[in-house]
């Protein structure tokens, strides 16, 4: 009897030690997130001003603002989404609504997975070889946008596919039973229902695209270019590359540190806002779409 008691005690003690440790670790990870965010917010907050986001960089990028980098990143996000969003959504529709199970579908799925696993620097190499050199777009917004577009394509396809899968089959059947064709059913019933979730995926991929650096290193990004791009064949500055440059190889790294904190904060803000927006959308529409 006594022995059993001791065993039970040991068991309980082990358990509370283990659980306590796991809890500590979990909260530490979250704490780490807050440390990273707080660090950049605190150091970057004082840098951000109206001038910082609307002025050209000055004095070897130690003064002035990051206006061209913000505009460049916006252009890249827009460009890559103009490519990836329609292509990705159409591809997902084909995968989920049209093609039947079989080896064809398996291959496409596998290839999409493979593309998702390609490291971003390899996209950079590829973009340089194909768009910049072979197709002779040069270092340009076009080359950069296409490279980034291909990079997020698997993300768009995956989130869209999930959104389409979540649409109950009864809606499809009801529509088909009324004599609607496949495309009518897809475009008029399935897509409107799936739209909020697709939109959520789109916003998340915007967050992803705006922070990618490696793919744009050799396809579009300019080290220092104090003017705005005027065509899709122009080079442009971009936020993530700008942060890399001024924190590692600027003319005066120490002097541009403040600029770096500011740039990092802007990047973080973009990512946070897109995440929060996506979550809010998901919650808002989640309530509406559920039937009965």
């Amino acid at each position: 009897m006594k022995k059993e008691n001791r065993l039970a005690k040991v068991k309980r003690r082990n358990q509370s030690i283990a659980f306590g440790l796991f809890q500590l670790i979990s909260y530490s990870i979250v704490a780490l997130l807050f440390i990273i965010l707080a660090f950049i917010v605190i150091k970057g907050f004082s840098v951000i001003s109206w001038e910082f986001i609307t002025e050209m960089p000055k004095e070897g990028m130690t003064q002035g603002g990051i206006y061209p980098a913000i505009i460049g990143t916006l252009c890249l996000v827009l460009g890559s989404m103009l490519f990836a969003f329609p292509v990705g959504v159409l591809a997902a529709i084909y995968m989920n609504e049209y093609v039947k199970d079989g080896w064809g579908k398996k291959i496409i799925k596998q290839m999409t997975n493979n593309l998702a696993g390609v490291p971003s620097i390899v996209f950079g190499l590829f973009g340089m070889a194909l768009f910049v050199n072979k197709l002779e777009f040069g270092d340009s917004l076009l080359a950069g946008s296409l490279t980034l577009g291909l990079l997020v394509l698997p993300v768009v396809i995956r989130t869209t596919e999930e959104s389409l899968k979540a649409v109950d089959d009864t809606f499809r059947h009801a529509s088909l039973a009324l004599g609607a064709s496949k495309w009518q059913t897809t475009s008029r019933v399935v897509l409107p229902i799936a739209f909020p979730n697709i939109l959520t995926g789109l916003i998340l991929s915007i967050g992803r695209v705006s922070g990618e650096t490696a793919p744009i290193l050799f396809t579009v990004a300019a080290y220092f270019l104090p003017k705005l791009p005027t065509s899709i064949f122009d080079q442009a500055m971009a936020l993530p590359y700008h942060l890399y440059v001024i924190s590692t190889s600027g003319t005066n790294i120490e002097a541009s540190r403040a600029m770096a904190y500011g740039t990092a904060l802007i990047l973080i803000i973009i990512v946070l806002v897109s995440n929060l927006l996506a979550n809010a959308l998901r919650k808002y529409f989640g309530k509406k779409v559920k039937m009965n």
Partner: protein, 250 residues
């Protein structure tokens, strides 16, 4: 001529045979009830009539099904047009997440009707046909999800009627509804019989008795007995039918 005629229909899901040699004819403007224990093939048979089973991979069919004398599994059949002619109401009410009006107008729009006046006229007629008009006339542009389950199901029937089919398939249309709503739907079926050929799957035998002219009893993929409803329920010829309707199995 029979409105619907099936000749030696065999149907397979992959390797499994779901229907064995079904031969069955239905007259115009009658209500036919398909009864039998779950998994007996009655729903499968129903879904053959508007080719909804085409949506399932790896199925195939032997035999012929004629509607208005045309083999609907012939190569030159346009499935969309077939489904326009053969309306369907599902087990659970499944209105689209659109307004009440848009739900009924949907079938018209996808079938190429663009004249707004025609659409409006047909929408109203259909809603009146299912006796829903008084309940929804003030909220036609509100979401269909705001309606009760019974109202939703009547809306789904209106949606099917709007494209003016000649046949209406109903797959256990009241199984998800309360008794009052069920009564309303049954009354509706009785009314609709005058203009439509109706095939209804149900596992509620009283319902089959109340609404149908003829009843077909399915068991394990076979058509056991098919007769006037009155006869089948009072004087079944097969023992299995007898056992089923007296509640000894199923």
């Amino acid at each position: 001529m029979h409105k619907i005629e099936s000749k030696n229909v065999n149907f397979y899901y992959g390797e499994t045979q779901a229907l064995h040699d079904i031969t069955l004819s239905m007259k115009e403007n009658t209500v036919t009830a398909l009864i039998g224990p779950s998994g007996c093939g009655k729903s499968t048979y129903l879904r053959l009539l508007n080719r909804m089973n085409d949506l399932i991979d790896k199925t195939h069919l032997n035999g012929e099904i004629y509607i208005d004398g045309h083999n609907i599994y012939a190569k030159n059949t346009n499935v969309d047009d077939l489904r326009k002619n053969v309306g369907m109401v599902f087990q659970k009410p499944n209105p689209f997440p659109k307004s009440i009006y848009e739900n009924v107008a949907y079938g018209l729009k996808v079938n190429g009707i663009t004249d707004k006046k025609v659409i409006e006229e047909r929408v109203i007629t259909s809603i009146k046909q299912v006796a829903l008009w008084e309940e929804v006339k003030d909220k036609l542009h509100k979401s269909a999800f705001e309606l009760s389950g019974g109202q939703q199901q009547r809306l789904c029937i209106a949606r099917a009627l709007a494209i003016q089919p000649s046949i209406l398939l109903m797959d256990e249309p009241t199984s998800a509804l309360d008794p009052i709503s069920t009564t309303k739907i049954e009354e509706l079926i009785y009314e609709l019989k005058n203009n439509y050929t109706i095939v209804i799957v149900t596992h509620n035998m009283q319902q089959a008795g109340r609404v149908s002219d003829n009843t077909a009893f399915f068991y394990m993929g076979e058509l056991i007995e098919y007769d006037k409803t009155k006869n089948l329920f009072t004087n079944p010829k097969k023992e299995r039918t007898q056992n089923y309707i007296t509640g000894r199995f199923g």
